[in-house]
Amino acid sequence: MSLYTVVTGGTIQAADIDQLVNTLQVPSGSTEAKTVLVIAGAFQTSATVGNWIGTVSQFNTAGSVTLSSTTLTGVGSITVSNISSSGANLNAAATGPSNTARFVTTATFNY
């Protein structure tokens, strides 16, 4: 959903304000998706390639996270942990030493 601006001089309606409220405090049934690239130098097999993926929403906690459109290069499968109101942790284990071990995925936070 894209946001819109209020025309200068126009009346500000409740729906205008709710754009921000619903972005910062995602209601139940909504989702927030982020496509991320995580890249790291892996010094040995099983070295962790991971990062914290933050959400725009900061008040409600997602009940689940879905990963889709995933591409893995030099790493095994991705795991998700520490799902919280500010995001989740995504990790993958390197399959061998690599200067460019990485993964690309779309993380969808389901509220």
Partner: protein, 203 residues
């Protein structure tokens, strides 16, 4: 989010993403669901220094991948601090700012129920932080399991009780309050006030 749970299987709706929309309804047996925790936090008693509770930190439950390749992880590391935040609940008000009914969000309630089922099967090392939904409440004639579980966990948080009889009383009152709220909503819509009384807490 999970859609349904029973003692043998779970179902969920896979949305995929913007590039590869999916919309499949997926089903998996409980044997296919995995519990994962990277490390365990041990909580110590402040006075004696003795370990009082071990809690896997950041734990999740992993569902099998959908045919489209998407995979879902469910939150399984709930804490009492989490439940003390009002943002964990859906609140139903009377339109005048008075909360008439508060229930734990059904998605989180279903996660707790699934966690309990995995624990009972030896697939999770510790039980969820709130007590299990009593067996007799699993097939309630009025409510879907997620909503029944929401009311059960909220009832326990409010009363610290696991008494099924008291819960039934609470359940009836909650359903009554819900009907009343629905009626207020209807009247408001008929009156074209433009407001609904359902809101999501931001506290």
């Amino acid at each position: 989010m999970l859609q349904t749970i029973d003692e043998h299987a779970v179902t969920w709706h896979c949305l995929g993403d913007e590039e590869t929309p999916c919309n499949a309804t997926c089903i998996a047996s409980l044997e296919e669901v995995e519990y994962q925790a990277d490390y365990t936090l041990t909580l110590l008693d402040a006075e004696t220094g003795q370990a009082i509770q071990a809690r896997p930190d950041g734990a999740v439950m992993v569902l099998p991948a959908c045919a489209c390749g998407a995979r879902m992880w469910l939150k399984a590391d709930y804490t009492m601090a989490y439940f003390r935040r009002r943002s964990s609940f859906i609140e139903f008000g009377d339109g005048q700012g008075i909360v008439q009914l508060r229930t734990l969000k059904p998605g989180h309630a279903r996660n707790l129920v699934l966690h309990q089922l995995l624990y009972e099967r030896g697939k999770a090392p510790i039980p969820p932080i709130l007590p299990a939904l009593p067996a007799e409440e699993w097939e309630h004639p009025i409510m879907e399991l997620g909503l029944t579980a929401s009311l059960w966990f909220t009832f326990h948080l409010l009363t610290q009780s696991t008494d099924s009889t008291l819960f039934e009383q609470y359940f009836v009152e909650a359903v009554h309050a819900n009907k009343k709220i629905a009626r207020v909503n209807q009247l408001q819509l008929q009156g074209n006030h433009g407001n609904t009384t359902t809101r999501f807490s931001n506290h």
